[in-house]
């Protein structure tokens, strides 16, 4: 399988040589920038993983097992630097395949050396820098907007809450910290001279497409959980699907419409903006509907 993948990659490198060559030259020319970016990304990733793994280890079933401190140190190093090791292997493999399929070996070696050097430098920085604050993941509902209900209010039987569940899941996933981290590379990628208006539109576009993607994934994830919860109840699948589908699809359609409007504001043609917005919303609704029907059918089959 790995050989097959390597062969396919080699063939595509060879076929797209004329497209890749200028890219390689540009990467070599901006070698220092590549090295710096790789170092920063690796340092952040490894530091965060270190903090997460240490918190997890304290609750692990192996926490009380007697292990020699030297062995524990090496094991911790291997676990914490796993993403960096994986990145080094991936970069080396890609460079090797490219070198076999491609004539510009000097460029390939230079890019490989810069990226790999950046990763190694990042690991060193992550261990020299002070450790990040311990990670304490709050419950997902902390970020969910919620209307307070009067304590004495009666309980009104309704399936409406099911429709809110996927949207709440979206808010639980899109935690402010995660959104802030995701925006940083978008801001960094904007060329010098970008106006504030353009930057705002790009960020809004990111928000609307992100909301669309998250709403679809939340729908897929929640529909499975809901069917498991509702399995012992005498509720018709049609009613459950309707309760779920209407608010979520309205949200997805809204996000699609917002994407189309932002694309128009970004000077894309009216026709293509509407096409992109409508098709992404339609695909999202269809995906969600299909997942719901599938899970409902599995529930009905029991």
């Amino acid at each position: 399988m790995a050989l097959l993948l390597a062969g396919a990659l080699g063939a595509s490198f060879w076929a797209a040589g004329s497209v890749i060559a200028p890219g390689l030259t540009a990467l070599r020319r901006h070698g220092l920038l590549c090295l710096g970016l790789a170092a920063v990304a690796t340092a952040v990733l490894v530091a965060r993983r270190r903090s997460l793994e240490r918190a997890r280890f304290l609750r692990s079933w192996l926490a009380a097992v007697p292990v020699r401190s030297s062995a524990a140190r090496w094991e911790a190093l291997l676990i914490e630097t796993f993403p960096a090791s994986a990145a080094l292997i991936l970069i080396a493999s890609l460079a090797l395949i490219a070198a076999l399929a491609f004539a510009r070996r000097a460029d390939i070696v230079a890019v490989w050396a810069n990226l790999s050097g950046g990763v190694v430098l990042g690991v060193i920085i992550s261990y020299l820098a002070p450790p990040p604050k311990p990670v304490d993941l709050p419950p997902g509902s902390r970020y969910v907007p919620h209307r307070n209900v009067r304590q004495a209010a009666p309980v009104h039987p309704s399936l409406a809450a099911l429709g809110q569940w996927p949207i709440r899941q979206l808010f639980a996933w899109a935690q402010p910290k995660a959104v802030a981290r995701a925006i940083i590379p978008i801001l960094v990628m904007m060329p010098l001279g970008t106006t504030a208006d353009t930057a705002m539109i790009v960020i809004a576009l990111f928000a609307s497409t992100g909301a669309l993607l998250l709403a679809c994934s939340a729908g897929l994830s929640v529909s499975r959980l809901a069917m498991r919860w509702l399995a012992p109840l005498p509720v018709r699948s049609r009613a459950v699907i309707r309760a779920f589908l209407l608010p979520s699809c309205a949200f997805i359609l809204g996000a699609g419409a917002m994407t189309a409007l932002l694309l128009i504001a970004f000077n894309a043609s009216f026709r293509s903006s509407i096409m992109v917005g409508a098709s992404s919303a339609l695909i999202g609704c269809l995906l969600f509907g299909a997942a719901l029907s599938w899970n409902a059918r599995a529930r009905g089959a029991r």
């Binding site: 304590q151 309704s158 409406a160 498991r228 919860w229 012992p232």
Partner: protein, 242 residues
């Protein structure tokens, strides 16, 4: 007395692994039935089949005369199941869970009995809290309250007293006892707690390796109780035999 739960020749498993083999028993109205057995013997699998979460590979389950396979809707209308706390929807509030259950059972509202029980269990202050912010015991209370929505004939509980404080557990046990007597229903409880069998259950059975190896019908359990016999020893002897 009419049978509320009837299981005939039930077989079930996961993939090729058979967990339950030819289980048959009947529970008449007004009975608290305790299902005992060592870990991994198939208690939860049996309950999953009874509530329709797992399709049996053979046999028949009927609730109040309605087949779970052929008339699942009518059978489930008579069923209340307390799911494991981790199955509850983390991002809904307790009130919303009750609303969904009541709507699913096509009720006009939640009965005053259930609201009074929620108050007794000190759950009312948590009604508008998200499930993922509740402690294990509070989630367990919500799970049992959901099982009692709609005054079901058959209540199925899987280790439902785990995580509950002793006062709440006592309130719940008394409420369940009163409920099945008033309603003429059945309580099917999978448990390891012998205290419940000794003080509350009408009948009990032990499940070992997917088979009901020994049953203690109502008269026998009453005889054990009257003679101050040690049920723990009786159960250990039954398990030791197989």
């Amino acid at each position: 007395m009419s049978a509320i739960l009837e299981i005939r020749g039930l077989r079930a498993g996961y993939g090729r692994r058979t967990v339950l083999e030819d289980i048959s028993f009947t529970l008449p109205a007004g009975e608290w039935f305790a299902l005992l057995g060592p870990n991994g013997c198939g208690k939860s699998t049996l309950l999953d089949c009874v509530v329709g979460r797992l399709a049996p590979s053979g046999g028949e389950i009927a609730i109040d005369g309605f087949s779970l396979g052929k008339d699942a809707y009518e059978a489930k209308r008579r069923l209340g199941y307390a799911c494991a706390p981790d199955v509850l929807p983390a991002l809904l509030t307790g009130r919303q869970c009750l609303e969904v259950h009541a709507a699913a059972k096509q009720l006009g509202g939640i009965g005053p009995d259930l609201l009074a029980l929620a108050e007794e269990l000190r759950f009312t202050p948590y009604l508008d809290s998200f499930v993922d912010t509740l402690s294990l015991g509070t989630r367990q209370k919500l799970s049992v309250l959901l099982a009692l929505v709609g005054d079901p004939l058959l209540i199925v509980l899987d280790e439902a007293f785990n995580g509950l404080d002793p006062a709440s557990a006592l309130i719940l046990k008394r409420h369940l006892r009163a409920h099945i007597e008033r309603r003429g229903g059945v309580l099917l409880l999978a448990t390891h707690s012998l205290d419940i069998v000794e003080h509350y259950a009408d009948s009990a059975a032990v499940l070992i390796d997917g088979n009901l190896k020994q049953a203690w019908p109502k008269p026998e359990l009453q005889r054990l109780r009257a003679g101050q016999s040690d049920f723990e020893a009786a159960l250990a002897a039954a398990i030791g035999k197989f």
